[in-house]
């Protein structure tokens, strides 16, 4: 019975938690209170539901319990009557009517406010929007719980002290502020995506980012880049199972077993990409990256990849987001479209950019192009250079494998 109650509770929390937390923050301005009240309601549910039976409407039960708890705490604190009436009013309304999508959207924009430190934005979004515990957020970022606790406190304090309002930004700031929200989701996904087997919760970050991207696309239905970001994350994450082998080693896309790609995620990703195109706006950076991911997701084999389309997308991406990393990826694609020699020429141009001087992927890309060109004697030192600067153990194992294949032990 206990496990049934726990399952119902998890579903009710997934459906209602964010609305309740966002509504309580709007009314009370107290982030910790909001999170604590929902936590408290969940604990009560776990205590009572197995004993008294699961209520007919678990979400409404949870909402009411959280609001009652908030009222209790506020009364004890002798908060002014006006605020109490507001919370009271929330309690008396139907849960669905308590706070519409606007509170959730306001919460997202507030967590991702550009005046907050970037690490704080990410942490607060995970804690408050995704509902991870402080301990879970700490583990995801490989810091101690005390450190994360401090980071969250400082971020919430800045919101209170600097007067950051809980609201959706005005229309003339819409573009840059939504870009800020999408950037937080993308950053979270990359944190998780770069993680490999055995890094525990970091794997889950990608899942949290996927959930967040669905929420953002749902709350910003007319924003093409929100759909494009969702598409990008789905298409990239569809390859998750094929990205590592049984030993936990990275498998390059060329060697991945495409039957292990998640077809449902590919389908959903392509649908989200289509939603982005429906806007009629010129393609933004997320849409172009999603396009590239879609080319890979729809190619039957690696050899069938439409490299001309990939290079065209990178060219367009360089127009809207001219970063050296994009230029580096373009050089890789040119290497496949026109052959490794052309790729090496493109790479030489890119690698002269000072901003790439310490970028560990430059020697790895050069090594790969040299290997494909059959220039083994040059490829070996390039792989050794790449090995010396590779940031993760998984990447080092992959580079050592390449060296072994070239006859170097």
């Amino acid at each position: 019975m206990g496990s049934e109650a726990a399952a119902v509770l998890a579903a009710a929390l997934a459906a209602e938690r964010l609305r309740v937390v966002a509504g309580l923050i709007r009314v009370t301005g107290d982030w910790e209170l909001a999170e604590d009240c929902v936590q408290d309601a969940a604990e009560r549910a776990l205590e009572r539901w197995p004993r008294d039976g699961v209520p007919d409407n678990p979400a409404a039960w949870l909402t009411t319990a959280a609001h009652r708890r908030a009222l209790d705490v506020l009364r004890r604190r002798r908060v002014e009557a006006g605020k109490l009436r507001e919370v009271q009013a929330m309690t008396e309304r139907e849960p669905a009517a308590v706070s519409g999508s606007d509170d959730r959207l306001a919460l997202l924009f507030t967590c991702c406010h550009p005046a907050l430190p970037p690490a704080g934005r990410v942490a607060l979004t995970l804690r408050t929007v995704s509902g991870l515990s402080t301990r879970e957020v700490a583990r995801a970022f490989l810091v101690s719980e005390a450190t994360m606790s401090q980071r969250l406190l400082r971020t919430r304090n800045k919101i209170a002290h600097a007067g950051i309002s809980f609201r959706v930004p005005p229309p003339h700031r819409w573009a840059e502020r939504t870009a800020g929200v999408l950037a937080v989701v993308y950053l979270l996904f990359n944190e998780g995506y770069a993680a490999t087997e055995g890094e525990g919760l970091r794997d889950d970050l990608a899942r949290e980012a996927l959930t967040l991207s669905r929420l953002v696309a749902e709350l910003l239905p007319d924003h093409d880049e929100a759909h494009a970001l969702r598409a990008l994350l789905l298409l990239q994450d569809s390859r998750r199972a094929a990205r590592t082998d049984a030993a936990g080693d990275l498998v390059p896309m060329e060697e991945q077993d495409r039957s292990r790609w998640d077809r449902q995620m590919v389908t959903d990703g392509l649908a989200a990409l289509e939603a982005a195109w429906r806007s009629g706006n010129p393609a933004g950076p997320y849409r172009l990256q999603a396009e590239i991911a879609a080319v890979h997701a729809t190619a039957a084999t690696y050899a069938d990849t439409d490299w001309a389309r990939v290079v065209a997308c990178y060219d367009a991406l360089l127009d809207v987001a001219p970063t050296p990393v994009v230029a580096l990826n373009r050089a890789v694609a040119v290497g496949f479209r026109d052959g490794p020699g052309a790729g090496l020429e493109a790479l030489a141009v890119v690698a002269s950019d000072d901003r790439l001087a310490a970028y560990p992927l430059v020697p790895a890309v050069r090594a790969d192009l040299l290997r494909r060109a059959g220039r083994t004697s040059e490829a070996v030192p390039a792989y050794q250079e790449a090995l010396a600067v590779a940031p993760t153990e998984a990447e080092r194992r992959f580079l050592r494998r390449r060296l072994r294949e070239l006859g170097v032990s």
Partner: protein
């Protein structure tokens, strides 16, 4: 809420386009003051005219110049009364020095608040 705007000259190179895009200071003031957001503010004399005051072991120590040697210097200040940080940011972003230098927006910390 009250905010202090430090108007900072930071030695950054300014493009011609940014110089031309910078709003007129008189218009900025008329708008901010007209909306009742401006409390007080002024230009400041250059750091050469500053005197830094310290008392150590009961002794008054005076230094000619600013409290810190740096490329950045505060050339003016404004105190604003705003609804929230977003409003203060909008006002700061409309100041000509945001285009050529930088503006630091700092919330007041009222004495009766912890």
């Amino acid at each position: 809420m009250k905010y202090l705007m430090f108007v900072v000259k930071d030695g950054s190179t300014v493009t011609e386009a940014d110089r031309e895009a910078a709003p007129d200071i008189e218009k900025w003031f008329a708008d901010v003051n007209g909306r009742g957001k401006w409390v007080i503010g002024d230009r400041l004399r250059p750091v050469e005219d500053a005197t830094t005051v310290r008392v150590r072991s009961g002794e008054l120590l005076l230094t000619d110049g600013p409290f810190t040697e740096s490329k950045e210097c505060i050339v003016g200040f404004d105190v604003l009364e705003c609804d929230d940080l977003d409003e203060a940011i909008e006002i700061a972003a409309g100041h000509p020095m945001a285009y050529g230098g930088s503006i630091e927006v700092r919330p007041f910390w009222p004495i009766d608040e912890g």
